[in-house]
């Protein structure tokens, strides 16, 4: 049976939390009403897990998870909108700064829905995950593909803070396993298109919650006979120069970095700088800042597939 992203994430939550002796899932409207468009469906049926609707007190709810983790009780804070987490930044920053060195004895997951469907207005459409990862010094897991989701929930079974982000636009889309060759590399999933060693190797490195634009670019380039690796970042954090992932990215003739986040500072910029220093041929695509973000708008990404592909093709002609 095909599952939507919402249903698939829901099954992963249920899988993780059914294995604990005691656990808590909490958030606003998670087990009543639409249950966050179905994300919360059946969570109150998990054995030995208490799932309940809370007050509208995001700061306290964020701290609640830390208190539970201090007490060896795994928990999940399910959050309808990423911007709600702004009210919990003191906890994500200050509390985590004191407790992140081994004092948290159980996982504490915060799952945020990034409102990227458009027409929600300048506040609800916040997509500033880089700043959250930077302030909290905790990576943010992009739940942007089935493989990413699998890996993210696997990592989130370890004690500590785990921040996850899911695209609202994606929630009703089908979440299927990739038919491509897939490898897991140090915080990223690599999808191989046309592994023809004779043609130029292009890495499309994607930072974001909705991978569709990176997938389309990869498919277009693949159709033009390039050997494409779509490198889908799972963990939004600094990519170290000594990491296997950095090495893997550098093994390509051309590197396309695509970042759909709306932050003013990006981890992708840091990666681009280091790749350039390393002598790699890079093309960096990031969003805005745009005046559209301060008014109600379609929230469309400021660059499109064809313009990216044309630029890459122009710079890397196949002989």
């Amino acid at each position: 049976m095909e599952l939507t992203f919402t249903q698939y994430v829901n099954t992963k939550i249920r899988h993780n939390f059914s294995s604990y002796e005691h656990s808590v899932i909490f958030g606003q409207n998670i087990v009543s009403g639409s249950r966050i468009s179905g994300l919360g469906a059946g969570l109150d049926q998990i054995s030995n897990c208490v799932a309940f609707n809370t007050t509208n007190s995001e700061n306290s709810l964020m701290g609640l998870g830390f208190g539970l983790a201090l007490s060896e009780t795994p928990s999940l804070f399910l959050m309808k909108q990423h911007d709600f987490a702004l009210l919990g930044l003191d906890q994500l920053t200050n509390t985590h700064n004191v407790l992140r060195n081994g004092r948290l004895l159980a996982p504490f997951i915060v799952l945020m829905v990034v409102i990227d469907s458009g027409f929600e207005g300048p506040q609800a459409s916040l997509s500033s995950l880089d700043e959250f990862a930077s302030l909290s010094r905790a990576p943010i897991y992009f739940l942007s593909s089935k493989e990413n989701i699998d890996k993210a929930f696997e990592m989130a079974s370890a004690p500590g803070l785990h921040l996850m982000a899911l695209s609202q636009k994606n929630m009703k889309n089908i979440c299927t396993p990739s038919q491509l060759q897939v490898t897991d590399c140090d915080g990223a999933i690599i999808y191989k298109y046309l592994p023809n060693k004779d043609n130029p190797k292009i890495a499309v490195v994607f930072f974001g919650v909705n991978i569709s634009i990176a997938r389309e670019i990869s498919e277009e380039l693949s159709n033009k006979n390039y050997c494409v690796s779509l490198i889908n970042i799972i963990k939004l954090s600094k990519i170290k120069l000594t990491s296997p992932l950095f090495y893997e990215i550098t093994q390509h003739d051309t590197i396309v970095l695509i970042d759909t986040g709306k932050s003013d500072v990006h981890f992708s910029t840091d990666l681009a700088f280091n790749l350039k220093e390393n002598g790699n041929n890079i093309n960096l695509y990031q969003r805005g800042p745009s005046q559209k973000w301060s008014v109600v708008s379609d929230d469309a990404i400021e660059f499109d597939v064809q313009s990216v592909v044309q630029k890459i093709v122009k710079g890397t002609e196949i002989v």
């Binding site: 306290s60 701290g63 609640l64 009780t73």
Partner: protein, 299 residues
């Protein structure tokens, strides 16, 4: 640590033991103060001269299954819960032999061995962490009460409202201990806001309320034991407001005709107490009050 049964009067030996403990805690703080005056510490330290009765009595009312969450001003609780002068001094010197191996210093100092599993120097930050700890105790059907220490400054934060609301809604075993010294840094309550009637505030959410003042250790201890019992048996939060006087403040002359009071907040105290470490010979000073009452055999 239970020495007493709720609602009985404290016997004289217990009173003198507490009085001696309070005096000893004062002496250690004054020794640390001397080291601060000598410039030995690089970190900010908030003394709690005048707060000793609260912590000494709470240490007696505390059960081994209880949890304690502290603030930046935590020296009196660390001492009451067994930290030695050497452990504290070495912690403040950031030495490996310190209470937290020299890693936490003063404002975040915690001692999990005594139930103190979180300390925050951010006003209002520890309320919500307490909620999680209390919820875990309740879900796991474990004994224990969460004592969260706060002050009249932190209750101005919205986090206090949220935490009392949530703890009341979920019936969590929490005691909010509000050390009210009427000052936030150098600004008194009267200068910064209207009075908050915590009794009415608590009552509005069906939360119990108790208040303590004048460093009466008999009343302090019995009230804390009673409060603990209500919270533990009924799993219902309580607010316990304690009037404290942060001693060590001083006056500065502004011009010929006026002087301005500077409340003690942090760092070294530059005024000298008497040979017993007493700053004020009245009920504002817990060393004076507890020794007086102990000597009189009032208990």
């Amino acid at each position: 640590m239970h020495l007493f049964v709720y609602d009985t009067n404290m016997n004289s030996s217990v009173a003198s033991k507490l009085a001696e403990k309070i005096k000893a805690m004062r002496a250690i703080q004054l020794n640390i103060n001397k080291k601060m005056l000598e410039g030995q510490f690089k970190i900010p330290i908030h003394l709690a001269i005048g707060h000793e009765a609260v912590s000494a009595c709470l240490a007696e009312a505390f059960s081994p299954s209880d949890k304690l969450l502290l603030t930046h001003r935590n020296i009196h609780f660390q001492l009451a819960f067994g930290a030695t002068e050497e452990q504290l001094t070495n912690e403040y010197l950031l030495k490996p032999s310190g209470l937290a191996s020299g890693k936490l210093g003063s404002m975040n100092l915690m001692n999990p061995n005594t139930g103190n599993i979180y300390t925050s120097n951010i006003l209002g930050n520890n309320f919500s962490v307490a909620l999680g700890i209390a919820l875990s105790l309740k879900l796991k059907k474990q004994d224990g009460v969460v004592w969260i220490i706060t002050g009249d400054g932190a209750i101005e934060e919205g986090a206090f409202y949220e935490a009392v609301l949530i703890s009341a809604s979920w019936k969590l075993p929490i005691v909010f201990v509000v050390e009210n010294n009427k000052w936030s840094l150098g600004t008194s309550i009267l200068e910064r806001r209207t009075e908050i009637d915590l009794c009415k505030f608590a009552d509005s959410m069906n939360v119990g309320f108790q208040s303590l003042k004048d460093n009466d250790i008999n009343n302090y201890l019995n009230t804390m034991l009673k409060t603990r019992e209500i919270v533990a048996v009924n799993t219902q939060p309580q607010v316990l407001e304690v009037e404290v006087h942060s001693l060590g403040g001083f006056y500065v002359a502004e011009d010929q005709d006026s002087k301005r009071y500077i409340n003690y907040h942090a760092g070294a105290i530059k005024i000298e107490p008497d040979e017993n470490g007493i700053f004020e010979k009245n009920s504002t000073d817990p060393v004076f009050t507890s020794l007086e009452n102990s000597n009189k055999g009032d208990y």
